[in-house]
Each structure stands twice: as C-alpha cells, then as structure tokens.
Subunit: 225 residues, 2 copies
Amino acid sequence: MTISKTNRLSLVEQVVSQIESLIESGEWKIGNQIPPEMDLIQQFDVSRNTLREAVRSLVYAGLLVTKQGKGTFVRSSSALGAAFERRIQQSSLLETLEVRHALEREGAQLAALRRNQEDIEQLRFHITACSKAAEAKDIKAYEEADIKLHKSIMGSSHNDLLIDLYEHMEHSLHESIHQIVEMSSDVNFHLNIHCKLVDAIIEQDVNRAIETVNEYIAQFKKSIE
Amino acid sequence: MTISKTNRLSLVEQVVSQIESLIESGEWKIGNQIPPEMDLIQQFDVSRNTLREAVRSLVYAGLLVTKQGKGTFVRSSSALGAAFERRIQQSSLLETLEVRHALEREGAQLAALRRNQEDIEQLRFHITACSKAAEAKDIKAYEEADIKLHKSIMGSSHNDLLIDLYEHMEHSLHESIHQIVEMSSDVNFHLNIHCKLVDAIIEQDVNRAIETVNEYIAQFKKSIE
DNA sequence: AATGAACCAATCATCCTACAAATTTGAGGT
DNA sequence: ACCTCAAATTTGTAGGATGATTGGTTCATT
C-alpha cells in the first residue's frame, strides 16, 4: 500500500496555486484590481463556486481583498502577514515586545555585518528625519520617521524572511512606539539611543548594535510594567 | 472623518470567526471530525456556498483538512503554522537559520530569567535523553531528543507567541539538525554546548545562555557555508 | 452652470438545485 | 466466512438566480 495519498489536487487548490503564481510573479501587482469573477471563471475554466472558494481562501490569507461593488484587489504578496497579525492581536504587549526584541536584535546584528552604501544612505536619511521631527516637537511625524528607521535597519539585514516577519509587526510597532513616546516626556533620550544604534551599524560594530537594541527594549519593558 | 470603514462583516467572515472560536475553545478538538456540511448549514443558518467558502478558507490556513467522501477534520488550532511553513519553504537555509537564531537567543534569555522548577525537570530529562542517545550512537534518537530539548527551552520562556512561532519551525529544525549531526562527526561537541546552555538556564546566567546560543548558531553557519 | 434625484451598469455576496466523485456501510448471494 | 455490489454519506464541481454595494450617467430643478 502507501501509494501517494494526496496526489490529486482539487480544482480549488489548483486555482489557488495559479493565482499565487500570478501574484508572486508580479503579473498581478500589489494594489491593482484583478479581473472580475466572470473573466476568471473563463480564464481558469472552472465554475463560479470553485473560483470563489479559491479567491476567498486568498482573501483570508491576506493576499487579496474584495470590495463588494468595486472588485477584488491584490493586497500583499505574502500570506505570512495576515496570519502573523491575527496571532499578534491575541498576544499581550509584553509577549509582542519580546518577539520584537528577538527580531530587532538579530536584525541589528546582521545589519551591522551586511549594510552596504545604499543602506547607509537610507539610515542617515531616516535618522535625520527623526531628528528634525524631534526638534519640531512633531510627535506624529516622529513616530512615522521612527518606524521607517526601524524598517530600514531591518532591511539592511538583507534577510527576506526576517524582513517579512518584521514588516507585519508594524501595527504592534505603532502601538508601542506611540506609548513610549507618550510616556517618556524626554524624546531626546529615545532619539539618542537610535542615533547610537545607527552609528554602530554604520561602523559595523556588531556588539554595540546588539547592546543598544537591548538597551532600548529594556527601556520599553520598564515602561509597560 | 474616520468613520468606521469595514464595519460590516460578511456572512462568510462571521462563519469563519465562529469556527475559529469553536476550534480555539477546544469544542472541536484537534484530529476530530467536524459535523458534515449539511449540519453546519443548519447550525449557522447559511447557504452551502457560504459555509463552504468559510471552511475552505480555514483549510487553506491550515486549521482544517477536508477529505472527500469522509469528512472534514481539525488539523491545528493556529493559523500561523501553515503560513509560516509555506514561507519558510521559500527561504534559504541561511535565512531560516538566522530567524532561528533570533528566536532561540530570545528564548534562551527569557528561559534563564523565568524557568521554574517544572521547567528545570523537563530540561534535565531531555538533556539526559540526548546524552544517552549520544552514548548509544543512535543518531535518530539523538535528533529526536535534541528537538524536544529545544522546544523545552523555548517553553521555559513562557512567551506563548515565541513558543508558537518556534513550534512551526520544527520542519526546518529537523533539516538543519540532521545536517549538522551528519557533518560534524563529533556529536559530543554538539552535546556539550547544549549541556552548557541548559546549565546556564538553570543557574539563571542570562549572559552565558545567550553566548552559548550564539556559539552553536555560529557553528551551524560555518557548516552550511 | 450647479445641485441633486433617479436610474443604470459593474461587481461581489448569497442562496438554490443538481450532479459527480470518493468513501463507508451493509445487504445479499456464494 | 467471504466476496460483490448497491446504497448511503460526504465532499467536490457546475450553473443559474437574486440581492447588495459602489460608481457613474442622465436629466430635471434651481
């Protein structure tokens, strides 16, 4: 016995797979509207039910989003995001922060090792934006710039899986950054630590980069106790 | 403005949500068969299409699995698993290893801080199992014991989100552990490092725990270069 | 010309019936 | 006891009909 068990893919699974390919290959670009159901029914040569089950699966996974009366649009090219965000919502702030610590520490370490000239320019640009926003006391702008800086650091790690995971903690990031900026009346302290981190990454000082991440995560932790 | 945008949930989304609750609450246990479509149609008072779209979404997410002619069964209680595994499959071994590093470093740190008496017993049990398997030169048993040890360490962190993420790297874990055990003819070195890590966690020596993780991950990295 | 009401077209959402395919069950014959 | 095959159960696929939402068009009123 023990012949291949799940050898046959259902029609729905085949359609799902094809749509995934279309999205990943960039043929269906993020933000764009995909053809209406009727067209896809003909394109894939399946019934409406089959197509809808496939599309609905990808909507749940976060790759597509449907808007009644308007159409269906490509939302993301990775199914990891929606699941991760859903899971994060069920977690405490502390748990999420610790996972952030895990990802940011690794990200900072790798960034210090691998950052190239382009990364350095990006980092300098975003840290300058943070600085300006802090000077102008524009809290909202500071938060925005801070998030972009964090993403830019993560991007300098050149590890797509890590980047992907971090990307989808953005909502949680917003929350915690907002909280910390509100609580600590001293934005400059926050800014200083980030400067230190960017310096360490640019100078490829791995240990200092890691220690700096540890430092500001510890600060966060204290503030939510 | 900022009036509620997506205030209305579609029927399918409502059914999905209800099924998720049934699974998470344990009312539908993992491995068990769920009621047939016809029963669910009556239970949720929706059409077959609507119900099927909901079920199909959860199948894609990895929570359910359907078998034509037999029924639908609960596969997992977390949607993160399937998405994460799918994403990992597209990643290189190096990328995955670095994410493992991120999670294991954080896990070890938190374990050293939070391990309780029960954790200590678990850790001792699994490290002993590793030891015995190494003595008996039973590679397969060693790999099994090693994975259980790693999970046990992660469990000692008492961070459910971290545990959940790590849980679903198991397949990747298998691969890399197999590879490292095969390559390094010296299993004792591998075992020793793990003993050191467990010791550090039991003694609540945070820095040594982190350094030990760094040490064996660096070893892994060398081996796949 | 500006406004707004009524209408229309496109698109997704839901429901319905029917049949196909896979699996299990059980009746009936040997 | 064993085999055969039909029936029942369950998921898979097809196709049609109607409702709901959105966006745009037309057109009369001001």
